[in-house]
Symmetry: C2
Subunit: 481 residues, 2 copies
C-alpha cells in the first residue's frame, strides 16, 4: 500500500487547489500588492516546532489561505510594477504542476529522454524566435545569475595555457589577473560571478555609461588597453541588452567587434529584454549579439513563464561542456551522442523546466507573444507621455522597452529631491493597488515602473499614474502645512 | 482585459490537470519505469519550429499525454530503484502548483514576507527534526551541488589574509594553493565546486576509504600534514553521511575533532541520508555533525518533497552572507533586521520552495515521516536478506539506510564478472517494472537498489528481486547454450 496521501484525500485537494489557483488569478488584483505585514508577523503565526502527527490536506490548505497567501508580495498582480514585472501565466502553471508530479531529474538523457529532448527543442524554438544563428545551443538554468556565472566560467576555461579547471588559480605566480568588463549599469550577477569564480571584485571593470546609460565604448577600449599595459589579462566583456535600472542597451555591435579583435569572450545579458527580440521591429536594438559567445535570456522575466527559467545560449556548447563535464562511476551510461544536461554546469540535478516553457509558447503562439510584448511597450510609451505632460515630473531615461524611469521634481536640493522621491515611493506602495521600485541614476533616487504582467491593462497604468500624482500632491500639501 | 488565457479555458484545464496528476500517481506503476524510446525519437515528434498562432490548452495537454508523459523516466514510479529513489508526494505537488501560481521571487523580505519567513521557520523545523543545535540557520537552494559550492565559498572567504572576494585568486604570488579533502566515495559536486571556485581539481584530495567505504581517518591526517609541509593551505574537509554509491558514513566525529584542531572548515554532505537523522535511533551515525561549519541536506531526495529543494545549514550564517552579500541600488530597501535571501548565495532570484516542504512536513507529521524512513530502511534490510540467501549473489557493502549494493558472482575473471553484471543490469531495466543503477566499488561493477519512493511496497521489492533472479538465470542459461 502506498504511504503517500490516499487518492481519496489527494484528488479533492488537487481540485481544490485548481480552483484556488483559478480564483487567485482572477482576484489577485483586489489585494494590496505588498502585504501590510511587519517583519516577524508571519513567523509568529507559524508554530515553533513541526507537528508530530500528520494533518489533513484541507486544514493545511486552510492555513495556506489564511497565513501565506495574504502575506506574500503579489508578483502575479496586475499592479505589480516593481523590479521586472513578471507573469506566472495559466499555461505555465499547468506545466509546473505536471512537472512536480512527474518529479523527473533530467541529469542524464537516460533519466528523462522527453525532458532532455524537449529542453533542446524548446531552446531551439527560442533561438529561432530571437533571430539568432543556428550555431547557438540553449539549455535551461534556474537564474541568470547562474547562467552568467557558467558563461564566465567557460570564458575562463578557454584561456590558453591556464588549465584552471585542473590547476585552479591559487598559488600560481605564473598567471595574471583575469579581467571582466561591464558597465556601471550592469546587473550585480556579474560581480557575484567574479567573486565566486575567484576572479575578485577588483577585476570587474565597471565602465562608465553615457547619458543614455549605455556603456561608453571608448572607455571600454581604454580600459582594455590599460589592463594589457599593466600586465593583466582582459578575459571577457558582459554587455547588457536591457539594463536593470533603465533597460538601456550597450553598443553590442561595436563591443562584438572589439571582442573579436582582442580575443575577448562576449557574454550578452539579455535576461529581461531578450523577449523583445522576438519582435522583428525591435531586433535592431540587439544588433551584434549574434556574434556573442554566450547569451542569457530569462523566459521567467518577460515571456510569461513561471519562475524559474533562464536560458543560456552558447555559440560553442562544447566549451561549456569541457569546463564542467565530469562523470562519476554512478552516472556512467551506455548512450552515445546524447545530451546529458548535467554536463553543462555546476548543478547535477535538472528540473523539468522546459515543460512550462513549451506550454507557454504553444498556448500563446509566436504572434501572440509578439502582440503581448508590443502591448507592454506601448503601455510604457503611454505612461511616459502621461508623465511628460506633468511639469513637476520628469522621465529620466529613454524607454526602449517596457520600463519607465521617472523622478518627482520636488525639493530645493538634490538631496531633498532624493528624500522626497523616497517618501513618494513609500506613499505609493502603501496604497495597495500598485507596487513600484526605485534605483539610483547618476547617484539620484529614481522611481521605476516596469510593465510585464499579462493582467496589466491600460486602466491599471492610468490608475497607477493617478496614485502617483495624488500621492505627490498629498506630500506637497503636507510640506506647505 | 487580461491577456492571459481566459478563466473559462484555464479553470477546466486546471481541473483536467488535477485529474491527470491524481491518475498518474495511481497508474504510474503500470508503465515501464524507463521508457522504450531511442535517442532522437521524442525530438522527432516535436515540430522543428514554434507555432505561429496560439493553440488550445486541451490540445497541448493531449500532446503532453501523447508525447511527453510516456517518454519520461518515471522517477515517481514505485519500481524506480536507481540513483537515489525520490518521491514527488501529493502534499508537495500541491505546494509546487500553488507556488507556480503565486510566482513570487523571495529575493528580499519585501518581495515576499511570507516566503522568507516560512523558509526560515521550516528550515528551523528541519534543524529540530535532525537534532542539530540552535545555532544552525538554514536556507533553501536548488541542489546540493550549489549548497556545497556555497559552503566551500564561505570556507574560502574566511581564510585569513586572502580577501578572495575582493582580490580573487589569480595573479597573486603571495597566496598558496587551497586544499579540500574528501573521500574517494564523495559526490562529484565537491569536484565541481573546486573547479568553479578556482581551486582546481588537483587541490581536491580524494582520501582513500576503508573496506566499508568510509574515509580513512589516518590517511586524511597524513594528507593534511603532507600539504602543510609542501606549503599548501588545507582549507576544508567535506565529510559524507551517506555516500552516493553505498551510503557509507565517514567518521565525522573524528574528522570534526581534526578540523577543530587544524582550523579547517567542516562541510557535511548529508544530501541523501540526512533524512535518516530524523529517527533518533539512527542519529548515532551522524555523531559529530553538530560540530560542522555547514551541512547540506536535500528534502527532495528522501523527504518526499518534489525536486528541487536543498537545505544548507550554516553554523554562522554571517560567514555566508559576508561572502556573497552585495546590494545594488535597485534592490535597496528600508527594512532592517530582516533576512534577504539573495544575500545567501550566487542566485538573486529565489523560488518559493519552502511552501511544498511545509506541506510535506505537516501532511505527514514528524512521526509519519519517521515511520516512512524506517519502513524504507527495513525494506532494504529485507532485500539484503533475500540476496544473502542466494549463493551466486553477494551484498557488497553495509546497508545503514535504504540502499543495497550487490553483485552477481558470475564469470571467471573480474572483467568477465563486470561484463556479466552490466549485461544483467540492462536485462533488468529492459523488463520495465523496475529500474536499477550501477556504480563501481574497488573498480568493480556493482548494482544498486535504492528505496525511497512512498509507493514502493514489500511486493515491489519482492518482484524486483524476482526480476533480478530470473534475468540472471536467463543470462546464465544463454551462456551455457
Amino acid at each position: 500500500m502506498s504511504r503517500d496521501v490516499s487518492d481519496s484525500e489527494l484528488r479533492p485537494a488537487l481540485h481544490r487547489v485548481a480552483d484556488m489557483i483559478a480564483d487567485d488569478l482572477q482576484d489577485v488584483g483586489q489585494y494590496p500588492v505588498m502585504p501590510r505585514v511587519r517583519p516577524g508577523e508571519v513567523a509568529s503565526m507559524l508554530p515553533g516546532s513541526p507537528p508530530s502527527e500528520g494533518e489533513s490536506l484541507n486544514r493545511i490548505l486552510d492555513d495556506y489561505a489564511r497565513i501565506i497567501e495574504p502575506n506574500i508580495t503579489h508578483w502575479n498582480h496586475p499592479g505589480f510594477l516593481g523590479y521586472f514585472s513578471i507573469t506566472g501565466s495559466g499555461p505555465g502553471i499547468l506545466g509546473e504542476a505536471l512537472s512536480a508530479a512527474l518529479n523527473v531529474n533530467a541529469m542524464l538523457w537516460r533519466t528523462s529522454p522527453a525532458a532532455t529532448e524537449l529542453e533542446e527543442r524548446v531552446c531551439d524554438w527560442l533561438r529561432q524566435m530571437l533571430g539568432l544563428p543556428e550555431v547557438f545551443r540553449g539549455h535551461i538554468n534556474d537564474t541568470a545569475s547562474i547562467s552568467t556565472m557558467l558563461a564566465l566560467a567557460a570564458a575562463r576555461h578557454v584561456q590558453p595555457g591556464l588549465e584552471v579547471r585542473e590547476l585552479g588559480l591559487a598559488g600560481r605566480p605564473d598567471i595574471p589577473e583575469l579581467v571582466v568588463y561591464t558597465s556601471d549599469q550592469a546587473h550585480s550577477s556579474c560581480d557575484k560571478a567574479a567573486m565566486t569564480l575567484g576572479l575578485g571584485l577588483r577585476q570587474v571593470r565597471r565602465i562608465e555609461s553615457d547619458e543614455q546609460f549605455r556603456m561608453r565604448f571608448e572607455s571600454l577600449v581604454e580600459a582594455v588597453e590599460a589592463d594589457r599595459r599593466a600586465g593583466r589579462r582582459p578575459m571577457a566583456v558582459v554587455a547588457t541588452a536591457g539594463t536593470t535600472s533603465t533597460t538601456s542597451v550597450d553598443p553590442i555591435d561595436r563591443i562584438a567587434e572589439l571582442c573579436h579583435r582582442e580575443g575577448l569572450w562576449l557574454h550578452v545579458d539579455a535576461a529581461y529584454a531578450g523577449s523583445a527580440a522576438i519582435c522583428p521591429e525591435l531586433r535592431d536594438l540587439f544588433c551584434g549579439w549574434e556574434r556573442a559567445d554566450s547569451i542569457v535570456f530569462n523566459p521567467h522575466k518577460w515571456l510569461f513563464t513561471p519562475f524559474d527559467c533562464s536560458v543560456l545560449l552558447m555559440r560553442d556548447v562544447d566549451r561549456l561542456k569541457s569546463a564542467f563535464s565530469l562523470v562519476p562511476d554512478y552516472l556512467k551510461t551506455d548512450e552515445e551522442d546524447v545530451t546529458n544536461l548535467m554536463d553543462l554546469g555546476v548543478q547535477l540535478g535538472r528540473r523539468f523546466r522546459s515543460l512550462k516553457l513549451w506550454m507557454v509558447i504553444r498556448a500563446f503562439g509566436v504572434e501572440g507573444l509578439r502582440d503581448r510584448i508590443r502591448e507592454h511597450c506601448r503601455m510604457a510609451q503611454d505612461l511616459a507621455s502621461l508623465i511628460d505632460e506633468e511639469s513637476d515630473f520628469e522621465v529620466v531615461a529613454p524607454v526602449p522597452f517596457s520600463v519607465v524611469c521617472f523622478r518627482w521634481l520636488a525639493g530645493d536640493s538634490p538631496e531633498q529631491q532624493d528624500h522626497r522621491n523616497e517618501a513618494l515611493l513609500n506613499e505609493i506602495n502603501a496604497q495597495g493597488p500598485v507596487f513600484l521600485s526605485s534605483t539610483k541614476l547618476d547617484g539620484r533616487t529614481t522611481l521605476r515602473t516596469a510593465i510585464g504582467n499579462l493582467k496589466t491593462t491600460d486602466q491599471h497604468i492610468q490608475d497607477a499614474w493617478q496614485i502617483v500624482r495624488s500621492a505627490a500632491d498629498r506630500l506637497a500639501a503636507d510640506q506647505l502645512r
